[in-house]
Every structure is written in C-alpha cells, then in structure tokens.
C-alpha cells in the first residue's frame, strides 16, 4: 500500500502557450485536506495550471513534485481531471459512460449505481447521455471522480452549469474528499465555500504566489 499523498509542490513553473508566456516562475503548494483555490482573470492561466498538473502540458522550466503517493505512478496518474469537457459519449447510456471510465482507470471503488445516486442521476442510469441537460452532463462527469479513487482532484470551474442544490452536493462531496486526506486544486471565479482552503491568485504576469 502506497503512503498517502501529503503535498503537491510546484516550483518556479514557467509555461508558454502559442508563443505567449502564460505562467512565469509560479510556485505553489497544495496540502492534503486543504483545497487550493486558484483565482484570476480570464486568460490568467488557471486552466493551464490544472492541465500542467494533469500532465497534459509540459512546462518550459520548473518542476512539480509529489510528497507521498505511489512512487511507480506519475503525478498525472494520481490525479482526477474535471475539466470543461465532460468526456461523455452521446450514444452510450449514463451507466455505460460511467462504467467505462471506472474500468478504464482500474481499481473500482464504488458501484456505478452508488456513484450516480450520489450525484442524483441514479434514475437516469439507462438513458442515453444525449438526452441529458448541461447540468446533468456535468454531474455525470463528476461521478467519474467517485467510482475510481485518486488522491488529487483537479477541478476546473466545477460548479458551472449546476443549480444550487447540485452545487451544494458537489461541495459536500469535495469536502468529504478533503476530510479523507485528499488534495483538491480548484480553478474558479466564484467564492466557493470549501471547508478549508488556501488561495492562489494568478495575475496577468504572475511572479510567485502564496503557498
């Protein structure tokens, strides 16, 4: 059994996108049990930072380090990425969509039905995903984080398209993840009431930031 992940540290990360410097010398630290909330104007690099942690972008310089966790896995393999896109197939039913991601990420932790019940979609398990509303698609995508256990959750505008009740439920689930010692890095415009949080503000020209 791998030791639990305790900290995710970024040191002097610099990253270019399309010839433009998006992140320069950004340092941060995310602690287990405390949500790191990344804020900043449009284009400040919030999503870029999350994609960087998820291993989908490579920095020009700087490094990411993980304290604890399974040494055989990369940092990206410790992460769940909940981005703007829902990664759902319209032709598959709600249950099939979720069951695929559970099987693909291995190590099933929860039943598909139980996870759907958590996000309030259990009744729709056999409905093709094409018929879901935007908020329901969001919740189904979020259920992916519940069927496979990964310690780091990267949430990009997690509450967009959600109604008040769903938002509260999502925050409750994130809170439970934090209580269980998980890490959360969330990019958002809204003041989301996470139980414990650190702030990381990205400016147009970010030079360092609070840890």
């Amino acid at each position: 059994m791998a030791p639990p992940v305790t900290r995710l540290v970024g040191e002097k990360l610099t990253l270019d996108r399309g010839g433009r410097r998006v992140l320069s010398d950004l340092s941060f630290a995310a602690q287990s049990g405390v949500a790191l909330v990344v804020t900043g104007a449009n284009g400040a690099g919030k999503s870029t930072l999350l994609r960087l942690i998820a291993g989908l972008l490579r920095p020009v310089s700087g490094r990411l380090a993980l304290e604890g966790g399974d040494a055989e896995l990369s940092i990206a393999q410790h992460c769940h990425y909940f981005g703007h896109q829902d990664a759902l197939k319209n032709q598959l039913s709600v249950g099939e969509n979720l069951a695929f991601w559970r099987d693909f990420f291995g190590l099933a932790d929860a039943e598909v039905f139980a996870a759907l019940d958590r996000v309030g979609l259990a009744r729709l398990i056999d409905l093709p995903a094409a018929y879901l509303s935007a908020g329901q698609r969001r919740r189904l995508a979020f259920a992916r984080l519940l069927v496979t256990r990964r310690p780091i959750w990267l949430l990009d505008e997690p509450t967009s398209a959600l109604d008040a009740a769903s938002e509260a439920r999502l925050l409750e689930i994130v809170g439970e993840h934090l209580d269980a010692g998980g890490l959360v890095v969330a990019a958002t415009h809204l003041a989301l009431p996470f139980p414990r949080m650190d702030a990381l503000r990205l400016g147009p020209a970010t030079i360092g930031a609070a840890a």
Partner: protein
Amino acid sequence: MTALLALFLREWRLAVRVGGGALMGALFFLIVVTVVPFGVGPDLNLLSRIGPAILWIGALLATLLSLDRLFQVDRDDGGLDLILMGESPLELVVLVKCLAHWAATGLPLVVASPLLAIFMNMEPIAIGATTLTLLVGTPALTFTGAIGAALTVTLKRGGLLLAILVLPLTVPVMIFGVSSATAVLYGNMPFATPFAILAALGLFAMVLGPLAAAAALRHAGE
C-alpha cells in the same frame, strides 16, 4: 487488462450504434463496387479480371472514410485527456482502438466481399483468395491509417489531409494484396509469396502504427 477490454467494448459499441462508422463503411464499399460495372460496361471477362483490384480499392476507401474520427471524437469531448492520464500505455490504447475499429469497420468489408465478388463475375477460387487477402490486409490499412488519424487529430476537417497522408503508405499493402489475389487467377506466380509479404506488412503496421500514432497524440495536446 480490464481497462483495455473495456475500451475495446466501448469503441465497438460506439461504432455499431447509430452515428457510428461501421455501417457507413460497409455501405460505401457496396456502392463503390456496385458502381464500377456501370462504368466499365457489361464486359464480364474484364470485370472478372479487375474484380480483385476493385474490391481492394473499395475496401481501402471505405476504411479511410471512418478513420478520421478514430481519435478526433475523443479529443473533441475531452476523453483523450483522460485517456492520457490513465495507467494504460498509450501505445496499447491505440492498438486496442485500431483493433476495435477493424472489428467494426474492416471485418464487415471482409464478410461482404464474397457477395460483391459475385457482382464482379469472379471465379470461386479468386473470390476465396481475394477474401483471404482482405482479411489479412485490412488490419494493415487500419493500423497505417491510425498514424494519419493521430497526426490530423487537431484539425477540424482533417479527413482529406488524412487521405493524402495515408494513401501513399498503403500502396505496398495494395500491391501485394491485389497481386496475391490475381496470382491465383492466372497461376503465373505462386500465391504464397505475395501473400506472405502482405502478412508481414500487416504485422509491421501493427507494431509501427500504434507507436507512431501514440507519439503524435502525445504532442497533439500541446
């Protein structure tokens, strides 16, 4: 292993359900092969001579038709990001996606080819040989095409570019596929020689295709 099996089943399901490419490829194949006799006229000897080539060209075009969506659908809905974050090596993911694509699109072409061969007035032995070469050769088309699909994954309408990139690479497969099918017809050279090269090309493509496509996909996100 569960991950790759789940991926295979999902890809196959997506291909055979409404909006998937499986039926479209088979129908396209049917149309191409059916139209040819109208073009070349009712010369039965000519038809039976060019039959294997027409079936091969039809299969090649039908395979290319659905290949451009092989990775693009996953990129468009964000699934590719998640696949990259999975624990399965990307090369194996590509291999499995290709196998599923072939099972849903290539295999129906192989199954349909004996029927279409009758349209072309082909002899039973030529029908058998052509079907066998298609069975061995169409996976090579899919694996080679996967390279093009991965390279054009970021382009909105990459289908044409894909065809331009991939068609030259499929020429050897085409040559040896048709020549082993016609070898049976004329008996001027052994069937086994071009057929063995065709099988070898298929195996090469099966190894090189996923490696190259995975390398292209890793850079596509940036």
